[in-house]
Symmetry: C2
Subunit: 315 residues, 2 copies
């Protein structure tokens, strides 16, 4: 059974598609600028559930996930297309208006202009395709493929919160939520914050050698980055910035931080010492790139184990 990643690798090889395989495709715009473009498909009951979230939050998240891809290139988002397929029964309600309200609230914050898209009926499920284009100085998009042995590995913010929130939703505790921490975990899952400002900051100072957003989980995305760069990595468990709110679920939270997806933080490498900017979320150094191609090692106390792509969780 082939995975989505294997399939994409196959068609890349079969049809010679050089621009596929990063957070965004990069195409030349003008002599000083490259255009970066991304598309993200969100499907009801696969990527979101109507009984877990609001139409506004779905609109927010549809844009946020694509903005996160733009951030991962160090680019500035510019314009978007939004294709939405809606079942007849939902079309007649106020879902679509509230969905666009959520989308536009986030788009205004990042000055993203909606320039097109499509609206269609679907037989029974909502489907959203979010396309965002951004701009970056020519040749300066931060790719997954630039990491080199010896580079430090950094991650922004905290990890594991989004999947912690998902586990609360899956346990159907939403209506019983009382604690602030639980609410924040769920919010982390439903209304992610794209790290546009940090992406631009890293791009401006040209300090990152490679970058990816943490959408599939730290373990999986670090593997993606290592694959693209033909390198390996060694990270230290106790350096991983675990979401403080996870204490509301249980004590051992590294499984969320390593295996859980959708935190939409930025994972990047650099030859420099990165000093956090007080105006931006914290940046943590979690390890370094090695020449052990394709191998991600996890240092726990003084033992080293090979970290699988899935982290510690088996999805």
């Amino acid at each position: 059974m082939r995975s989505e990643f294997q399939f994409i690798r196959n068609i890349k090889g079969k049809y010679g598609l050089g621009r596929i395989g990063d957070d965004c495709a990069v195409v030349p715009k003008d002599p000083r600028t490259d255009l970066v473009v991304t598309a993200d498909l969100l499907v009801e009951d696969v990527d979101f559930r109507l009984d877990w979230t609001s139409p506004e939050s779905i609109g927010h998240k549809a844009l946020a996930v694509s903005l996160s891809d733009i951030a991962a290139m160090g680019a500035t988002p510019k314009w978007a297309l939004l294709s939405i397929g809606i079942p007849e029964c939902i079309w007649h309600g106020n879902f679509v208006d509230k969905f666009y309200d959520g989308w536009f609230r986030l788009s205004r914050r990042h000055k993203v202009e909606l320039i097109g898209g499509d609206v269609s009926r679907t037989p029974d499920k909502i489907v959203i395709d979010s396309i965002v284009a951004g701009e970056v100085r020519r040749g300066k998009a931060i790719m997954r493929s630039g990491a080199q042995p010896g580079d430090s590995i950094f991650v922004t913010g905290e990890l594991g919160g989004a999947s912690g929130g998902l586990s609360l939703l899956e346990a159907r505790t939403k209506r019983r939520v009382v604690s602030r921490k639980q609410r924040e975990l769920i919010d982390r899952q439903l209304r992610p914050t794209p790290r546009i400002d940090i992406g631009k900051y890293l791009s401006r100072y040209e300090v990152a050698t490679s970058m990816i957003d943490v959408s599939d989980g730290l373990a999986a995305d670090l593997h993606h980055l290592c694959d693209s760069s033909s390198v390996g990595a060694r990270i230290e468990l106790d350096k991983i910035p675990v979401d403080g709110n996870l204490s509301a679920i249980k004590k051992e939270n590294y499984d969320f931080a390593l295996g859980g997806g959708e935190d939409f933080e930025l994972l990047f490498t650099s030859k420099k010492t990165i000093i956090s900017n007080p105006k931006l979320p914290p940046i943590s150094r979690i390890g370094e790139i090695t020449s052990n191609v394709g191998i991600v090692e996890l240092v726990e106390n003084s033992s080293i184990l090979k970290l699988p792509r899935t982290g510690f969780r088996h999805f």
Copy 2:
């Protein structure tokens, strides 16, 4: 009950979206070039049926409908994104490979590069979002909004074939098809030909004042063009180039030609006398633009009637 068109008008007004409402959005690329971008959502059992068509033809059509939008701007297609949502059971078969084969066969003909997209699972239906970008000389994209009273109205090729083919498919006569004409009508529905060459020809010689592709049907699309240009139109029934293969269905075929969609011919206006180029499909003059804002008149023999948006058919 609001239509898709009313909804798009609403969000255009509510959020001040100036670039929405043509076949493509136009964004500046460099001092000499504009980028035109379009997205088309195709949903299983709404836009196509697996028992009527092949995976290759779905791949072909997914790209063709977007190329037709590029053609309608007089632009040259350059790159594409393809987002596809697939149910688990279909993912395990060869649908996706054959779909991409059909897509790439057409993309190679028009030198369109696939640069990205997304692949996702869906609960039960296939969903495709086809995004294509093209280039046109700065300020020279042919919009729907440039028609002026007195301009001649032209249409490329022949009309009604695609909806004739659809009617054959709906009547489930596919397996009983014997005649060449019936096969060609069905092919017109399942494997449309985008009029890229004519679009570029009209753009190069700067002869078209406005243009739209015939995707919703001649009556509907002429109304769209008149709405955008704040003009009216008068067309002559006996000048409409009806698809010759429709004789295989019945004698009165103007309902298909006026009301049927998906022919993906180009409907455009010009102040000039357009002479067909022998290397390109024929171009017919079917009437002229009037100052009767929003009114499309149909001249039949010597009587004039007001043509509704739906043509003669009630969908």
